[in-house]
Symmetry: C2
Subunit: 269 residues, 2 copies
């Protein structure tokens, strides 16, 4: 998918919502547990209930991987089920030496037909570039993450006063085309100067909802003239309810966010 | 496995060799391809031929993941086949927010019974600590990696003149017990000052062989009084030959390294 395709979808749906599929057998409604593939069944109902309201789905790969082969099967069925016009993100945070990153890219772009993968930048250029060799596929590089530990290293200032995540942005944007960045919603105040470094890149923004970030601040400081934002909510939507009406309640939460996004998008539409 | 168990094994085998199982269908001998599970058959023969010469095996998870469910099945069979006194490393370079890292830890320590996982430090403490909550299991944190891109960020000096990988070592060693670090053999000259920061930790050292690092330099600057080193070779051993005698040739390469290690260990034995 191209950035233009994504922007077209954002305009059509009046939404820049990404829904995180952190599907956990411990948390899904218990009536699903008797089915053959409860994880896929849960995802299918969430997708059916929300696909007109969001522009991206982001399965969190850890949750599938932890179930072994069965989990990868559920993931495959999920990715095949998502409508093709919706952007898909393998939230996998991979990154290794070149020949290994190439295998990770193959996994997510070929074996499972994702549009993008989240990538950790610690190992530098040759850990990222193999992901950029696939046409219309995307590497989404961690810049400033929403978790508390994110501050251990990401805001360390170098000799020139530049913080590590700023250096990651400046250095990695020359690795190639089709790069997006992860910036946590809990760091919305940093989006202004992030936009000075990467004015045109799409940003994947987790951390509203359960983690406490503000959608309004994210839009205020992070939106560009192609929207440039994919704001993720996972637990706040998919675990809004744990009864048989979970999908209806998930839709209500997604709709609430979509309506707020519609208002925030008004100047671009 | 405890560090003492590992040192006992090093003494018994006179070896600190780790063999990387980067098993790739494109590279294994073609006569195996007709079998039901060529990847496991290849690993089995490599393990049979080398398990008396090495103290650790390190499957590179990307290679298994790229084959989908089938690859995870081969991985499971491989890990179950490795003798229980040998240390096992899931080279997966994972790391995410706390609830997600917990799922990755569950994957590798419970679903697949590995002794350790390699972990990327970019997201800081809560991305690492969930791996430290499992008794006698280990997180192996990336410090200074062997690839060219490793220099993009890892040697960036902060305001106090400290390089990022040094800060990673200093900060993360307080995250908990049962931590090891990845230091590339191509950075052997840095091992001396790394040992000033982490004198007692085990170091996993990839990068001899195909990547050009020197075993002698690694031992000279990195060895401590419990050896403290696991030196990995992958391609140099497992792809030494591509005919029916591949396992015999792999053994020759492993034996050559083990003999060199025996000499380097002489003062500790």
């Amino acid at each position: 998918m191209t950035a233009n395709d994504l922007f077209e979808q954002i305009k059509a749906k009046e939404s820049f919502l990404c829904i995180g599929l952190d599907t956990d057998l411990q948390k899904i409604p218990s009536h699903l547990l008797d089915l053959e593939d409860p994880v896929f069944e849960f995802n299918k109902q969430i997708i059916d209930a929300t696909s007109d309201l969001c522009v991206a789905y982001k399965p969190n790969i850890a949750f599938y991987e932890s179930m072994g082969e069965k989990g990868w099967e559920s993931l495959k069925k999920t990715i095949d089920y998502i409508p093709k016009d919706i952007f898909t993100i393998a939230d996998a945070k991979r990154g290794d030496i070149g020949n290994t990153s190439k295998m990770y890219a193959k996994t997510f772009f070929e074996t499972y037909n994702f549009d993008s993968v989240t990538v950790a930048p610690y190992m530098g250029s040759d850990s990222v570039t193999p992901f950029l060799e696939f046409k219309d596929k995307w590497a989404i590089i961690l810049a400033l993450t929403s978790n508390s530990g994110g501050l251990d290293f990401q805001i360390t200032k170098d000799e020139n006063g530049e913080m590590l995540y700023q250096k990651v942005l400046k250095t990695s944007k020359s690795y190639g085309e089709n790069i997006m960045y992860v910036v946590g919603a809990t760091r919305a105040e940093s989006l202004k100067e992030i936009r000075e470094i990467v004015p045109n890149h799409f940003l994947l923004v987790p951390g509203i909802g359960a983690q406490g970030g503000s959608l309004n601040d994210v839009a205020k400081y992070g939106m560009n003239n192609q929207c440039g934002l994919l704001v993720n909510s996972s637990r706040g939507i998919i675990y809004a309810d744990s009864t048989k009406v979970f999908a209806i309640k998930a839709r209500e939460q997604a709709l609430d966010l979509q309506q707020k996004m519609k208002a925030l998008l008004s100047s671009l539409l």
